[in-house]
């Protein structure tokens, strides 16, 4: 590389800081951090779709599928975090690949709501399945890490580092991918599918690839969430409100940068946590109000704050 990629540098610094901070964080901070990483990963998938011109109101499908796939493995005696997360990610990816053949033919609101329809099918199946605890879900046993079986607080500390490493790899990977031809074709498909076809490539194929990717990372986020909370249940894993949260985070973050999704997810967790703590009757009101404020004052999301700052730095002084 002839030049240094600022985003990769930024992500690497954030990775190192969080890595070290993990050993000093208060337990509740780490818990919020874990959830932010998990949800941020899902939002990263939505960001890729968004750049292709598509919004999904149903990615709780893959989030929930990944979470339940990982959790169900613990029921039959597997506890290794690597295996669980890999299985959750892969299961969601395969599902996205299969549904992708249908969904890649739809655009706009039809795409968004068809996703939601599929996610509600999963929700319905889980709620009706008593073996999976129905609406109560079931608890996920403490994971081991390649034979290392941490106890007490060490479980979350290890899980945090485990999650951090994988999200770092995924995020840098997505950032680099966006500079490739296939990554750049997001723009082409969003702007003009006819031209893409007449340049000799299938727009639907491009969308399918992006869709499978978004499914994979959503499954990853779900599996991490299952391990972090130690519990899976349909309402916090597969309900349509969960899908809404992911779209919320994506709007909050903006699609300017891959790192933004984690910041957006963190802001979301903080708003929700504090709103719930200080205004238990009105927390949804506060959440909605902050979304409104973002749309009105920062339509390009939190990330546009950074680019605004950078622009004013560069502006010549009068």
């Amino acid at each position: 590389m002839r030049y240094i990629d600022k985003t990769v540098v930024g992500l690497t610094i954030a990775f190192l800081v969080l890595f070290i901070a993990d050993f000093f964080m208060a337990e509740w901070v780490r818990f919020i951090g874990l959830q932010s990483l998990a949800r941020g990963a899902v939002a990263l998938g939505l960001l890729v779709l968004w750049r292709t011109g598509l919004v999904s109101f149903g990615h709780a499908l893959y989030f929930g599928f990944g979470a339940y796939a990982a959790a169900m493995l613990t029921l039959i005696g597997y506890h290794d975090a690597f295996l669980l997360v890999f299985a959750g990610t892969l299961a969601a990816g395969v599902l996205a690949y299969l549904l992708g053949f249908l969904l890649r033919r739809y655009r706009a609101i039809f795409f968004a709501l068809l996703n939601m329809a599929f996610s509600m099918i999963l929700y319905g199946v889980i709620v009706k399945t008593e073996e999976l605890g129905s609406t109560d879900g079931f608890s996920v046993l403490t994971p081991t890490f390649l034979g290392y079986a941490p106890q007490g607080e060490a479980v979350q500390t290890t899980l945090f580092i485990f999650t951090l490493v994988f999200t770092y790899i995924i995020t840098v990977g997505v950032h680099l991918y966006m500079k490739t031809t296939l990554g750049g074709m997001s723009m082409a498909v969003r702007e003009n599918e006819i031209r893409v076809e007449y340049l000799g490539y299938s727009a639907e194929k491009v969308i399918h690839v992006k869709y499978v990717f978004s499914g994979l990372v959503a499954g990853f986020g779900g599996a991490i969430m299952a391990l972090a909370i130690g519990q899976v249940d349909p309402d916090s894993m597969a309900n349509w409100t969960v899908s809404g949260e992911f779209v919320f985070i994506t709007i909050l973050s903006g699609i300017g940068n891959v790192g933004a999704t984690y910041i957006g997810a963190l802001v979301f967790e903080l708003i929700r946590t504090y709103a719930f703590e200080y205004a238990p009757q009105f927390w949804q009101f506060i959440l909605g109000g902050s979304l409104l404020a973002i749309i009105m004052f920062l339509p390009d999301g939190i990330w546009s704050l950074f680019s605004r700052l950078r622009r004013s730095e560069k502006a010549p002084s009068p």
Binding site: K179, T181, G183, G184, M185, A188, R195, Y198, L199, S202
Partner: protein, 276 residues
């Protein structure tokens, strides 16, 4: 001469409407062919069928000796038939450079090559020389949405020509362009395509353009080809003069005794647009 495109008995109906019937055309390598006809005569339908956008009801289309019937546009493009559009199909929110960069990238990358960087020095150099050839280098960093119509048309055609197609079909390259600019625009396009040795078929309403750039004319009327002849011959063909040109618009008024009779039904057909 090598035959590159052979169309036999092509037919297209939309319900009871016959958009094309009994179309038989043979195109030789390096020919420059003008497609003329009134609005709704079937010109764009013909282009849409050859490029795979519309599926013919019946007939046969052979390109370089193999049938391309039923193939989607992307496969036909890959084989070597490209097209531009009456309404430019570009990536509006991107710069001219990025538009062509994407065109080059999609054309060049296959398989795992799709995962190589979009922008590299060699490709950027190719894009810049392409910009020079189509004389739009001064708009390199302008957004496609802000371009004047003529430049946007050039960009559209330049993008279609990136793959160095065997055949390039241009759908009304000069529609929406002022009279003063038309010839300059066509000079640029035809010179660039001549260098690539591209066979060109273009739809055109302006007979002056047809006379100047085209060696052979296909005249459409009500879904049929009523005349397929060298330009000079075609433009004096009675059928063409009656149903396509509309006498009073033409400069050389040879044999225009019956002009008045047809003026009414042909008026307004020369300047109008047709949906792609």
């Amino acid at each position: 001469m090598t035959i590159v495109l052979e169309v036999r008995d092509l037919q297209k109906t939309f319900g009871a409407v016959v958009a094309a019937k009994d179309i038989n055309v043979t195109v030789n390598e390096h020919e420059i062919i003008g497609i003329i006809g009134a609005n709704g005569a079937g010109k764009t339908t013909f282009v849409n069928m050859v490029t795979g956008y519309l599926k013919p009801t019946s007939g046969q289309i052979e390109f370089a000796g193999r049938s391309i019937m039923g193939l989607p546009p992307r496969d036909i493009t890959t084989l070597g038939i490209s097209r531009s559009f009456q309404i430019p199909q570009v990536f509006l929110s991107e710069s001219v450079f990025d538009n062509l960069l994407m065109a080059y990238a999609i054309t060049e990358a296959t398989g795992l090559g799709l995962l190589s960087p979009l922008l590299n020095d060699a490709r950027a150099a190719r894009v810049d020389s392409h910009l020079e050839r189509y004389q739009i280098a001064q708009y390199r960093n302008a957004l496609a949405s802000t371009l004047p119509q003529g430049v946007r048309k050039l960009l559209d055609i330049a993008m279609a020509a990136v793959s160095k197609p065997t055949i390039l079909m241009l759908d009304e390259p000069t529609s929406g362009i002022s009279v003063e600019e038309k010839f300059g625009l066509m000079d640029i396009i035809m010179e660039a395509l001549r260098q690539d040795q591209t066979t060109v078929l273009f739809i055109e309403h302006d007979m002056e353009i047809v006379e100047r750039y085209v060696s052979r004319v296909l005249a459409f009327y009500q879904g049929e080809i009523i005349c397929d002849a060298p330009t000079a011959e075609a433009l004096v063909d009675p059928g063409v003069r009656e149903f396509v040109i509309g006498e009073e618009y033409h400069r050389t008024r040879t044999g225009s005794e019956n002009a008045g009779e047809n003026a009414g039904e042909n008026a307004g057909e020369n300047g109008g647009g047709e949906d792609a």
